[in-house]
């Protein structure tokens, strides 16, 4: 698969939020405001790319060699959790500005299933290192796009006359559902 195909596929066709339904929790949690959505998106992009590279080497270097493919999930979770902690420490020291900008989103990513999903799908699809990196970037860009689009809609919804029973999360879920249907339109693209 060419890099362009991977990018388009992961951003639009197989958007992690709207098509694969991964990362719904942070999607609903931080899509209230455009600003926080962007912050979360940047943090996810950063971590997903790093963790994909790391898990790629661990899979090829350790798990495959020893025939321990079945340990994949638990090892990847361990790697992601440790990586997020490490990245947080480094950023806190190196760039307090970036640390403040990412804020609480960085530790939250530990439990974001998009990160694990991308790492596992990289292996399942049998990508090489370059493809892995672009798959990671595309996936997290798709996630960011979903967050930003949803936050734009939800900012407008704040002012809309929503029926009492649908205020808050119900209308957010309906919105997400409609956006997911809209994203189905990309299906024939590739």
């Amino acid at each position: 698969m060419s890099i362009a195909t991977i990018l388009i596929a992961t951003i639009f066709v197989n958007n992690y939020v709207f098509a694969r339904f991964l990362g719904i929790c942070p999607f609903l949690g931080v899509s209230n405001k455009m600003e926080t959505a962007t912050g979360m998106g940047v943090a996810v992009t950063f971590v997903v790319t790093l963790s994909s590279i790391l898990t790629y080497f661990i899979q090829k270097g350790i798990l495959d060699k020893l025939g321990l493919e079945y340990l994949q999930t638990i090892v990847f979770i361990l790697v992601i959790a440790a990586l997020v902690q490490f990245v947080e420490l480094v950023i806190k020291k190196m760039s307090p500005t970036l640390y403040n900008a990412l804020g609480v989103y960085l530790p939250l990513i530990t439990t974001n299933c998009v990160v694990l999903g991308v790492a596992i799908l990289n292996i399942q699809e049998g990508y090489n290192l370059i493809q892995t990196i672009f798959n990671a970037i595309g996936s997290s860009l798709g996630f960011t796009l979903a967050l930003i689009l949803a936050s734009g809609v939800r900012e407008k919804l704040e002012l809309a006359d929503v029926p009492e029973a649908l205020k808050g999360f119900p209308i957010a879920l309906i919105t997400a559902g409609l956006m997911s249907i809209a994203f189905l339109g990309f299906n024939g693209l590739i």
């Binding site: 661990i58 350790i62 798990l63 020893l66 025939g67 321990l68 340990l71 638990i74 090892v75 361990l78 790697v79 440790a82 902690q85 490490f86 420490l89 480094v90 806190k92 020291k93 190196m94 307090p96 804020g103 609480v104 704040e158 002012l159 809309a160 006359d161």
Partner: protein, 269 residues
Amino acid sequence: MTDILNPIIVLGGLGLGFGVLLSIASDIFHVDVDPKIEEIRSVLPGANCGACGFPGCDGLAAAIADGKAPVNGCSVGGMPVAERVAEIMGEDAEDMKKMVATVLCQGDCDKAKEKYEYQGITDCRAQNIQQAGSKSCTYGCLGGGTCQEVCEFDAIEMINGVAFVDKDKCTACMKCIEVCPKGIIELVPYENEFVVKCKSEDAGKVVRNNCSIGCIGCQICVKNCPVDAFSFENYLAKIDYDICTNCGICAEKCPTNAIFSSAVKELAV
């Protein structure tokens, strides 16, 4: 045997490796934090309610230690917490002025003119999009009650189309100030009774046409103030709350009653 040993070694080894790496990293990348932040954090209620306007108690603790927030920043904890925080900061809680939100507009339905009849969603932010609201005065309170909605302490009341803040219920959480599209809610020291309740920077004649209780920029208050607490800019008088002695002369002299006591709900006319 290797079938069992291998996974144990790999998983245990990875876990141990990451653990050691992280502990080394936390040592290398150790950042010294102000010990005051920890202390203040332990005094705060820890409810993470966000009423202070900072992201949770941690955010407020950092801001107080940094001097960006007052020691009485936690409105939920009130005086007891403020005193303990002040102790940590080495300040006197008594010196801290209690601030309250005050709506700087009195142009209610009878006093301010409308330029059109608004029939949309009852929300100031929505109304403000339509030609800056239905009032002829583009600075005034829209009366949509958005501030009342965001107030968690039930301190805001809508009286005849203008918001009014109950001084005693207000905790200065800033929520109404942030949400008001007109920016006419400001923090005023609790002690200060007299406030210029108008934000109009229009010329006197325009203000007179739009509203019977606006500041027309006549500067009578500036001339009559015994302690020179007034400044005057853009056709609008402003009181320096630090200098003001609450003598009330300005409120007496003000021809339009734009300067008025912040504690009284409505002008008795």
